[in-house]
């Protein structure tokens, strides 16, 4: 059994590595396809031929693409992300602050949303088929079908414009205190939480209800265990793998939510940096941000996969 799990871990890690390498190739190829001479664009129309040639040398643009790809990969591994076309600053200087803000936003969201979502899912499974369950099901289905910016817009309207409790724009300065940062991030976190709560609660309910007709649950019921005990002890113990899988997957799916929410609330995070870079066609920044997002995503999917497998003996044994 142990060996099965070890082999599974090794194959999945290799798989994720191969995927990431392919992704990096695609992202780099994207940057290569940008029309026009980068050095010329950076210097503007008035630049002399010699200046353009010098910048091309500086940016290593005169070297063949495969060589530059390897350089780019190696640079990223050492924290050298290249130079932004628009600000001409090293990207490695901007990234840490941006990444910190995005990480803070995501971690707060997970801390708020996951307990609420799991609680709601368990409650819905406990009262499956009742008015409470049906009503909440429709509400959560509605929430998960709404675009992120609809929820965010509604949040701004209610909490910032009508009630004026919270600031609509959350500029988190690096030296802000914890309370200020929390207040500034309240609306973005609330928005992201709503998105993720809807999905996780629905899937939790489905997983638990799906277990209801399994023999071991029937057995527990026949022994005379109470509904609550059957659900919390017998069903939940068997649902840990699937639930961990669901939670991790939904954290991965937060990516697009983060992009939209950072834009609406002007959170100076990684996503906002990327959106600006896309508008300015600042490819090195786009590539750096894309690689960070894709790597996080792939790692979370990998974790979700492993959670599911680790708690599923059948899958563990037949690991390819």
């Amino acid at each position: 059994m142990r060996r099965g799990l070890g082999r599974l871990l090794a194959t999945r890690l290799l798989g994720a590595g191969a995927v990431l390498l392919t992704v990096s190739l695609l992202v780099f190829a994207g940057g290569e396809m940008l029309p026009g001479d980068v050095a010329q664009i950076m210097l503007g129309e008035g630049a002399s031929e010699a200046e353009v040639a010098q910048l091309r040398r500086q940016l290593n643009l005169d070297r063949p693409a495969p060589e530059r790809y390897l350089d780019w990969l190696g640079g990223m591994a050492q924290g050298d992300w290249g130079v932004s076309y628009t600000t001409k600053r090293p990207i490695g200087e901007i990234l840490p602050v941006r990444a910190r803000n995005t990480a803070l936003l995501t971690v707060l969201t997970v801390l708020v949303a996951v307990p609420v979502a799991l609680g709601l899912g368990v409650l819905m499974a406990l009262f499956a088929g009742t008015v409470f369950d049906r009503g909440l099901s429709v509400l959560l289905l509605g929430l998960s079908a709404m675009p992120e910016f609809l929820i965010a817009t509604a949040g701004v309207l209610v909490f910032a414009v009508r009630l004026q409790w919270l600031p609509a724009i959350s500029s988190v300065s690096p030296d802000a205190g914890l309370a200020d940062a929390a207040r500034a991030l309240a609306l973005p976190v609330l928005t992201l939480s709503l998105i993720i709560v809807a999905q996780i609660a629905r899937m939790t309910r489905a997983t638990l209800v799906g277990l209801a007709d399994r023999p071991f649950i029937e057995m527990a019921q026949l022994k005379g265990a109470s509904r609550l005990r059957v659900l919390l002890v017998h069903a939940l113990a068997n649902a840990i793998g699937p639930l961990a899988n669901i939670v991790t997957l939904n954290i991965a799916f937060l990516v697009s939510g983060v992009v939209v929410v950072e834009t609406i609330f002007a959170v100076p995070g990684l996503a906002q940096l990327m959106i600006n870079a896309v508008s300015n066609r600042d490819m090195p920044v786009v590539e750096a941000c894309a690689m960070i997002f894709c790597t996080t995503y792939v790692l979370l999917l990998l974790a979700a996969d492993l959670f599911g497998a680790a708690f599923n003996p059948r899958l563990r044994r037949s690991a390819r």
Binding site: A145, A160, N250, G257, I264, V286
Partner: protein, 286 residues
């Protein structure tokens, strides 16, 4: 990579069966928007690009039932014109995703072997990237336009559709009637169009509705970020972006397009929940 996400699928069948009123209401909402998109622009007195008031964000009046937008254009005319572009783009994108995904999925299931291996690996790589990030990188390279919006949306969802249609087809290929047809020496064309497709159609139709709602959300997100349709043209996501600043001063202009998006995507989801739930191929949007 996320095969386990599908675990939640069959179980959902046991759950929420919605009352028929919800389904009827959904049909009515969809019918309303389709009619509005088809006939609306011809019926309304103002065009979506006409400046009708001097200042922006005029309140609702008899002449302008939804008020005006940030530049003083009739909001109702903008909303209806945006309905047309939003529905057309998402429909084209979903058609594209299904055309590519279904064809390759069925081929992979029928042929198996190297073709199946290669296609499945490609799909796996595509599904390992967040869709919005893929869209952003593509738009950074080629710039935003309606064509790019259709192509990107179709491309990011083709891999998901491929996986779903391949899985459905694989289930069927193992059944006796397909094996019998193969032994009879039926042609590939008959196997696909005579045997497989008719049996896959209900599931693919359910996925089509779901995929269309995801496409609307995806393109709305891009347009909302300013990377979709470019002004003066706008889809619903673009209208929200344009009029967002009005919210602070109490103008509801940005709310109408958000409600429009919400109503269509929720209606599509409720319909699939009602009629498509026998094996709901729900994969996450992102």
């Amino acid at each position: 990579m996320s095969d386990l996400a599908a675990d939640a699928g069959p179980a959902q069948r046991l759950g929420s069966r919605l009352p028929p009123t919800a389904a009827l209401l959904s049909l009515a909402v969809l019918g309303f928007w389709i009619l509005a998109a088809l006939a609306g622009p011809a019926l309304l007195p103002h065009g979506p690009a006409d400046f009708v008031t001097d200042d922006g964000f005029a309140p609702a009046s008899a002449a302008h039932p939804l008020g005006t937008d940030y530049l003083g254009r009739d909001m109702l005319a903008r909303l209806v014109a945006a309905a047309r572009s939003t529905l057309a783009i998402s429909l084209l994108a979903t058609l594209g995703a299904h055309l590519i995904g279904d064809t390759l999925g069925i081929l992979a299931a029928l042929r198996g072997g190297v073709l199946d291996q290669v296609l499945s690996r490609v799909a796996e790589v595509m599904l390992s990237m967040p869709k919005l990030i893929v869209g952003l990188v593509v738009i950074a390279v080629v710039g935003p336009s309606a064509t790019v919006l259709v192509a990107v949306t179709a491309a990011v969802y083709a891999a998901t559709v491929f996986r779903i249609s391949r899985a459905i087809a694989l289930d069927l290929v193992a059944l006796d009637f397909i094996r019998a047809a193969r032994l009879r020496g039926e042609s590939m064309g008959w196997l696909i169009f005579g045997e497989l497709l008719p049996n896959m159609l209900p599931l693919l139709a359910a996925d089509f509705a779901l995929r269309m709602s995801f496409s609307i959300l995806f393109m709305s997100n891009l347009s909302f970020l300013g990377l979709g349709l470019q002004p003066p043209a706008a889809d619903w996501g673009g209208l929200v972006r344009e009029n967002l600043e009005g919210l602070a001063s109490g103008s509801p202009a940005a709310l109408y397009p958000t409600l429009a998006i919400g109503s269509v995507t929720i209606a599509l989801n409720l319909l699939v929940d009602r009629w498509g739930s026998t094996a709901r191929p729900r994969e996450a949007l992102h």
